[in-house]
């Protein structure tokens, strides 16, 4: 992670992509979101979605995993260059999560993010808060999900 001072509003990151298989969709749904349209092809065909599709929570959990992997790669590169690595603190929450289109079995979603806003924190010296817009786009170029996350990021001083 970069230090708060080194982050700029408008910065974008390509976080990578994930293909949602039927098996993957059903395994997540069975544990966390057991709706018929996430669990069973025939029941999904009869639902308003028309075919088996991923839980919306699944589409954001995959974003989280890709973000962590992205940061890990970034931190390794930083250490290899001999640069210090900032700590990423906890998140107080998120807003405006939109599930814009169903993610069907076999769909590949590419995830990206853009820094929207940065706030130094008077209440927590040593930390700043960043707000980031995150989006997922399917293989047809259609946005399937977006939301605005927030997180504490360590400051240099």
């Amino acid at each position: 992670m970069k230090y708060f001072e080194d982050i700029r509003v408008g910065e974008t990151s390509d976080l990578g992509r994930h293909t949602f298989t039927a098996e993957d969709i059903k395994s997540f749904a069975a544990r966390f979101d057991p709706q018929p349209f996430h669990l069973d092809e025939a029941a999904a065909a009869r639902s308003h979605f028309g075919a088996l599709c991923a839980s919306g929570w699944h589409t954001v959990c995959v974003w989280m995993r890709l973000l962590i992997h992205y940061r890990r790669r970034e931190d390794e590169e930083r250490r290899a260059r001999g640069e210090p690595v900032a700590q990423l603190g906890p998140s107080p929450g998120f807003r405006d999560l939109k599930w814009l289109k169903p993610v069907y079995a076999g769909d590949t979603v590419s995830y990206g993010s853009e820094v929207l806003e940065m706030r130094p924190l008077n209440s927590r010296p040593g930390w700043g808060m960043i707000f980031v817009r995150n989006v997922g786009v399917n293989q047809h170029g259609e946005p399937v999900m977006s939301f605005i996350s927030s997180a504490f990021v360590e400051r240099r001083s």
Binding site: F32, Q35, V60, C61, G89, P90, F152
Partner: protein
């Protein structure tokens, strides 16, 4: 035939949506798959972080809430999913062995302009921690089917 339809929800209604204990095993298993950060994976590494010990991923709390709502609340309703989530606040950490309860409060209801067979119900869902304080709050407007028999005449169909 589900018992609860869109017409059955009214602002101010509060529903208890069950209780469960969150185990260390499930916190670590979820994190290993979707949110592999030290504070969710390893007690020793977690002690060095801002939260001072092992805590559940915020996304895991969302998934736990979704499952509790499905099992104890939506199972009996004409639930049709949600187009998104307006806001999630992670207010306090969820630690291993803690017993949490889920609560639903109806904020408002709104008929769908384009779909006479359904309507939206805006809820605040909360996970309540062992000291009776909310640890997570989530504002969301899921879709519910209407009782067709009463919906049609109102719409002059």
């Amino acid at each position: 035939m589900p018992r609860l339809h869109w017409e059955d929800f009214e602002p101010g209604q509060v529903t208890d949506c069950g209780a469960r204990v969150v185990t260390r095993e499930e916190i670590v298993a979820f994190a290993a798959e979707y949110d592999p950060q030290p504070m969710h994976l390893d007690e020793q590494a977690a002690r060095a972080t801002l939260l001072g010990g092992l805590v559940a991923s915020g996304w895991h709390s969302c998934c736990i809430l979704m499952r509790m709502l499905t099992d104890n609340f939506l199972v009996d309703a004409s639930f049709m999913g949600a187009p998104g989530v307006e806001e999630v606040r992670w207010l306090a950490p969820v630690r291993p062995g803690e017993r949490i309860t889920a609560r639903a409060t109806v904020l408002e209801t709104r008929a769908s302009r384009s779909r006479p067979d359904m309507g939206f119900v805006k809820f605040r869902f909360e996970l309540i921690g062992p000291s009776d304080q909310p640890v997570m709050s989530l504002v969301v407007s899921p879709m519910f089917g209407r009782r067709t028999a009463t919906a049609s005449p109102e719409l002059g169909a």
